[in-house]
């Protein structure tokens, strides 16, 4: 990619003829340019449009109306519009809140819990994604593509969950120990590919993919073992985590738990680590140019190993959050897809900590809204997966979005890891 390294201040400082531009005109000029905010927004728009097409195409009754489109186009168009608008309205209501529920709360016919239910769902789904997203983003800044967040989260589920139902510790301490065990398990699982990369040069993409499936098989074996499986059950489910070890939540409809608070703290921690700490500097140096970093006296091998361990620890926390905050017991699918979703979240957040947090909130909202869309409009939750993947595909290919919308070339190139290698 061509890199234009002029800083935004440069023309203004020079005070030349270019510097005459007013702030407003520069704002409008940059608005329709391929900057990261615009690309993100347009990517979401594109994904939503393609999603709408999929909804219509897969609906037999609406599709039948398109058969006589030339005779009466209004039929097909209104039917399509109704279908799409109802589906997406449900998506938004399920993610942010239903105006009717709020009205009912003010009338006194409903409770505030019902009104805030959707928002609580969004935060519940977002919490583990923040952790796994940070695990991917942090590693990416160090030049490693951590596809293993899924495996690390699964191991975090296992160690966090087992610690949660084994140790009979007092409230507070039990939760702390369980979360710590989750982090340690994930860190160990992340350390393996880091060490292999550092010592032998084994590519982390391949080793982490393989470790993902290894951990999934390990979990499906483990939940059936004596001492872990719930003695009262015959199916693959473990004992329930002690109440003392569960992340506190409001209870009832509001499933949102302490995990989201921890996630925000973790984001702040990662932001500090990345931008303010010595290790953060080293990992960014290694990520931008490992040879230069080596020449400057940074141990590349040590950075890789440590970085993957920290990333694994974050993903492990994500897994532990899932078990201790939402699921309360291990099942073969307890980790769901949080690791792979975390990958998308990190890419959408452009590998920056706070960006990752926002992206995780968006994905959590999509997921929560998707649940409502599935039950109210009967549109499969898988649409959300499609939307998420499409958004990230467009984000990853800014040149494509730029070409579709004929955006201006960006005037300021921002620092940070770009997905496009050049």
């Amino acid at each position: 990619m061509t890199t234009e390294t002029t800083t935004p201040q440069a023309p203004a400082a020079k005070g030349g003829p270019d510097g005459e531009e007013s702030l407003l005109s520069r704002f409008t000029q940059n608005l329709w340019a391929a900057n990261s905010v615009m690309v993100t927004i347009l990517s979401i728009v594109l994904a939503v449009v393609i999603g709408a097409i999929l909804i219509v195409v897969s609906d037999a009754t609406v599709l039948a109306k398109f058969a006589y489109f030339t005779a009466r186009p209004s039929d097909a168009l209104t039917a399509s519009w109704d279908l799409i608008s109802v589906a997406y309205a449900d998506l938004v209501k399920g993610a942010l809140g239903d105006p009717e529920a709020f009205a009912a709360w003010f009338d006194g016919t409903g409770t505030w819990q019902q009104a805030f239910g959707p928002l609580s769902e969004t935060l519940t789904y977002a919490a583990p994604l923040v952790f796994t997203g940070l695990a991917v983003a942090l590693a990416f800044r160090g030049g490693l593509f951590n596809i293993g967040a899924q495996g690390q989260a699964v191991i975090g589920c296992i160690t966090g969950g087992i610690a949660g139902f084994t140790f009979g510790l007092p409230v507070g301490l039990a939760m702390l120990v369980a979360m710590l065990c989750g982090a340690l398990g994930g860190a160990l699982w992340g350390f393996i590919p880091g060490l292999l990369k550092a010592r032998t040069g084994a590519h982390e993409v391949i080793t982490t993919i393989m470790l993902n499936y290894t951990s999934a098989l390990l979990l499906s074996w483990l939940v059936l073992q004596k001492g872990i499986q719930d003695p009262d059950r015959t199916d693959a489910i473990s004992k329930t985590v002690h109440e003392a070890a569960q992340l506190p939540s409001f209870g009832g409809v509001l499933r949102v738990h302490l995990g989201i608070v921890l996630a925000v703290l973790a984001t702040a921690g990662v932001a500090w680590l990345l931008n303010r700490s010595a290790f953060g500097f080293e990992l960014r140096a290694v990520g931008s140019n490992q040879h230069a970093a080596k020449t400057a006296g940074i141990s590349v091998a040590k950075t890789y190993a440590l970085l993957m361990a920290i990333a694994g620890g974050l993903a492990g926390l994500g897994g532990a959050t899932q078990v201790l905050g939402t699921a309360y017991a291990l099942t073969p699918a307890v980790a769901g897809n949080i690791g792979f979703d975390g990958l998308l979240v990190a890419l959408l957040g452009r590998n920056r900590p706070w960006g990752t947090l926002l992206a995780a909130l968006l994905f959590g909202a999509l997921r929560a809204g998707g649940n409502r869309m599935q039950s109210y409009s009967g549109i499969s939750l898988e649409l959300v997966t499609v939307l998420q993947a499409l958004i990230v595909i467009f984000i990853a290919a800014p040149a494509l979005v730029k070409a579709i919308f004929r955006l201006r070339a960006t005037r300021l190139t921002r620092p940070g890891a770009s997905l496009v290698k050049g």
Binding site: W221, L343, S380, T385, A389, A397
Partner: protein, 422 residues
């Protein structure tokens, strides 16, 4: 691939030592030989192990005392390892290695089958069936990788192929149209991968992973919207019938396995030979390898780098799509959500384990297929060895292979790097 490794550092520190590759392999064989002779030998009951030459317990069989067999084959493994360490028979290293691994597996089988029987025809044909999609997927990977495009979207191509084959095959009530659509399904994913990574220079691994999620989402979405409500008209594809070649099919064991089989199996095996020949002997193969190893040099002598990459990735997509057709049109006769369940990643593992060569990929796919078949066999006979651990084998073997613990796998030099003509 996308990021450079630190192998230069590790290698520079270690001059070619006494512990060469064959010596390390030899030690590994001695260790597993000892394990086999001691552990398997002591655990195996002193009963007859029958390997029947048919699909059930009837008919002629190879028999051996389980305990005696376990110890005997373990000792042969040990001897093969000893020969490697001692450095005798240097010209037959690969043979010694194969003998060592084979006898280790036989020792394990003697322990497991002692007092029971194992139908060889069923085992071999099961192995081939499980290996077939892996072979096709790995070939797709080989094509991309050798031309310098990392294809981690094999899983997505499988899913798309399986889905398109089932959908269009049902609607057209023709298995051949189904096969063609499956190839087109794989081609679609490959085309997105090719355009984004070659034209828009997006990181190939990122696109691949996101495409897997996209394929998972879109097939799942359309499955729930179309196939589930009306399976009769969308999800009952005609299946590819087995073809029996008279005469040849009467050869014991090999006959029913190879000559009373699905045409897709023959196509898969033929493609292995064809691609091997093509890569090593034809103009296309030479150019492909040149583009994958040193695109700048290839460009200098007038080879169209991007064109070659497009050609190879798209051909790979067609082959992987056919691999996807195996799941719906050969194995089961209907599509279900996420039915490939990680097979694409095992195919990726087979490609790496097979050192990016067609015959290597074939051998690795057969090995992984055998491991899977053995896993189902062992859980059927109630073995104490958990099937999950056998299923882990492909993943762990790949980690060991890429880490260079037993011989380093060298990927094509330009893999993962987009080519920008300057």
């Amino acid at each position: 691939m996308s990021t450079a490794t630190v192998e230069e550092i590790a290698e520079a520190a270690a001059p070619e030592p006494f512990w060469s590759r064959q010596r390390r392999l030899g030690v590994a064989l001695i260790l597993i030989g000892l394990l086999a002779a001691a552990l398997f030998g002591s655990l195996a009951p002193s009963e007859t192990a029958r390997f029947t030459l048919s699909e059930d317990a009837e008919g002629a069989a190879l028999t051996i005392n389980g305990q005696f067999g376990a110890i005997l084959f373990g000792l042969i493994t040990l001897a093969a390892g000893g020969a490697l360490v001692a450095g005798v028979l240097k010209r037959f290293q690969n043979l010694l290695l194969s003998v060592g691994i084979l006898t280790f597996v036989l020792s394990f089988l003697c322990w497991q089958v002692a007092g029971k029987f194992m139908p060889l025809v069923d085992t071999t044909s099961g192995t081939l069936q499980l290996a077939l999609p892996l072979i096709l997927g790995a070939l797709a990977g080989v094509l991309g990788e050798r031309s310098g495009v990392v294809n981690v979207a094999i899983e997505g191509q499988f899913l798309m192929g399986a889905f398109a084959g089932a959908l269009v095959g049902t609607m057209a009530t023709s298995v051949w149209i189904g096969m063609i659509s499956a190839a087109v399904g794989g081609l679609i994913i490959a085309a997105i991968l090719a355009v984004l990574s070659i034209r828009y220079l997006v990181d190939q691994t990122v696109v691949g992973i996101v495409l897997n999620l996209f394929a998972l989402g879109i097939t799942g979405f359309l499955y729930e919207r179309l196939m589930q409500p009306d399976a009769q008209s969308y999800n009952t594809p005609p299946m590819l019938e087995k073809i029996r070649i008279p005469g040849l099919a009467d050869i014991p064991v090999i006959g029913p396995v190879l000559f009373d089989a699905s045409p897709l199996l023959w196509a898969g095996l033929a493609l292995v030979v064809l691609i091997h020949f093509g890569l090593s002997r034809t103009r296309w193969g030479l150019r492909t390898r040149a583009v994958g190893e040193h695109p700048t040099a290839a460009d200098t002598v007038g080879i169209r780098v991007r064109g070659m990459r497009y050609l190879n990735v798209l051909t790979g997509g067609v082959i992987a799509g056919l691999g996807g057709a195996y799941f719906t049109l050969v194995a089961t006769g209907s599509f279900t959500k996420n039915m490939t369940a990680g097979a694409g990643f095992i195919a990726l593992a087979a490609m790496i384990f097979g050192r990016y060569t067609p015959f290597g990929a074939l051998a690795a796919a057969l090995f992984f297929g055998f491991a899977q078949k053995l896993a189902t066999f062992l859980s059927a006979v109630g073995s104490p060895v958990p099937s999950q651990f056998l299923n882990m084998l492909p993943y762990l073997a790949t980690i060991i292979a890429v880490a260079g613990l037993v011989g380093r796998v060298r990927a094509p030099a330009a893999g993962g790097q987009p080519y920008i003509k300057s």
